[in-house]
Symmetry: C2
Subunit: 209 residues, 2 copies
Amino acid sequence: MTVSGSNGVPAKTVERLVVYRRLLQKLAEQGDTHVHSHEIAELANNSAAQVRRDLMIIGYSGSPAKGYDVKDLINRINRLFEKKGGQKVALVGIGKLGRALLAYFNLRQPRLKIVAAFDNDAEKIDTETHGCKCYHIDEMTRVISEEGITVGIVTVPAAVAQHVTDLMLMAGVTGILNFAPTRLKVPALAVVDDVDIATKLEKVAFFCD
Amino acid sequence: MTVSGSNGVPAKTVERLVVYRRLLQKLAEQGDTHVHSHEIAELANNSAAQVRRDLMIIGYSGSPAKGYDVKDLINRINRLFEKKGGQKVALVGIGKLGRALLAYFNLRQPRLKIVAAFDNDAEKIDTETHGCKCYHIDEMTRVISEEGITVGIVTVPAAVAQHVTDLMLMAGVTGILNFAPTRLKVPALAVVDDVDIATKLEKVAFFCD
DNA sequence: TAGTGTGAAATAGTTCACAGCC
DNA sequence: GGCTGTGAACTATTTCACACTA
């Protein structure tokens, strides 16, 4: 199953909320306390109506006079994400891309830490990259269940992606971000999202003339 | 402007066609000559009706008896993509992610070669990574127009992404794949697609329970 | 009086269902 | 009998439009 609004909030809205939060944080840093829908809309470039609807969906109200309270709204969005359980993340496949992701998330991102990385290359085992311990694939099941990890990132070659996925699911992972250029088969209760870079690039190349 | 069916073919369909081609190539390698819509559908996991519709859109017909001719269909899809002009790609920002992408595209992908990479770090200049020459940002305008590059990949920090984008657009790039966590402002005739990894991960974490 | 909340219309995208063909 | 091509139905998402409010 692909991501969808199994919750109350539709997937598209969730995606946009993450973007809004990023923008709001920037606004908060530069001291803005209130913001109007059309201002958020412009930064996120979508329509003001969309922003209002998204915020309505999560039950947040602004005032016509001042707009939306920046701090308050950030908290509201955070609460929405935090009430969810598993925020521990595992990464499988410590190649170039894997390391780039480790650096990205564990240096910049405060939430959603990657707490364990796995590979089958003996050289990489037991090293520590960006504050994240590297284990052999064989230890994956153990580590994932011990740590209570629920989100996995797959950056292995397409040929082994399904195998790795199956192992992760069995160990207790329920959400997977897949960078391998294959569609993963998962049970209906698990969630997969694909980041298919090659396809995206082809698409851009196709539509630009 | 975001990618859309400014052409005849809707963006979603293009995306799926790229996936189909990948699957078809695998089938061709293992000697299959014909394939049915529901077989493609299963591999790509969407519905058979969808596959049929997508192929109908690009004007390809199968026969009820044998299904679709694999080789022929690959050619048909390739022709669709090749008739488009610019397939030369530039990458800006030779960080970890940039290098991972260089490795990915220039080792595996036969089409869509990244022919030039740019960074402002003096150390990286004039080296050659994965068959791709690295230049200083200041040379970008020159190199892009000389080489006739039309597609750009942005892997620089968010703070400079817009600046880099503007330079690229001015030099003649019309399609951009953006990895920086910002929405880029571009003129209506240019095409941008975002690969917002952090957002995707948040989304997966949100929907898995 | 500009900006919010929200029903209603419009648009985009997906699946159904069935005629026609091999 | 199972598969394709395709209109029609259905679903999801976006935008419009306007009453309402501070």
